[in-house]
């Protein structure tokens, strides 16, 4: 999985979750998802260090507009 600054996502080895309802895209192996159409990204909780995230958010967040990243 690759993500860019627009939160566009590129996925490799994709599979369709609901194949019965959406069989149209089963032949796709890799895909690019435009960030603007994303609502959620579900993540495996074991892959996330929540302490690290919270510390980073507390520290990194600056009220100055456009100061991120």
């Amino acid at each position: 999985m690759i993500v860019d600054q627009y939160l566009n996502i590129k996925l490799t080895n994709v599979s369709v979750v609901n194949k019965d309802k959406y069989p149209q895209l089963t032949s796709l192996k890799n895909c690019f998802i435009r960030g603007s159409v994303v609502r959620y990204v579900q993540i495996n909780p074991n892959d996330v260090d929540t302490e690290l995230l919270q510390d980073a958010t507390r520290k990194e967040y600056s009220p100055v507009a456009g100061g991120e990243k």
């Binding site: 860019d4 149209q24 895209l25 032949s27 895909c31 435009r34």
Partner: protein, 97 residues
Amino acid sequence: MASTLSEWTSKNITILTCDGRLITGTLLGYDQLQNLILSKSYEMVYSIDVPPEKVELGLSVVRGDNVAVVGEKEEEGGEEEGDVRAEPIGAIVQNVT
């Protein structure tokens, strides 16, 4: 840039648009806004009752705003998708007020 479409130029791709259409073609060019140039493009219209209908579009540009997903079409597996019947994919509920 981390995720671009560069490696897919001159390859066959399928686009899912925001209104749920599926357009397939050969990627000739793209830009940062995901405007795409497709050659030999066609739309596949799926429905429950009848086999999918292929609508030829030829050379076309798809405006980036309407692009939801771009997928690389696997080389193998033949030309046609066969008789896949499915409900049309719904439009993306994109920040509709």
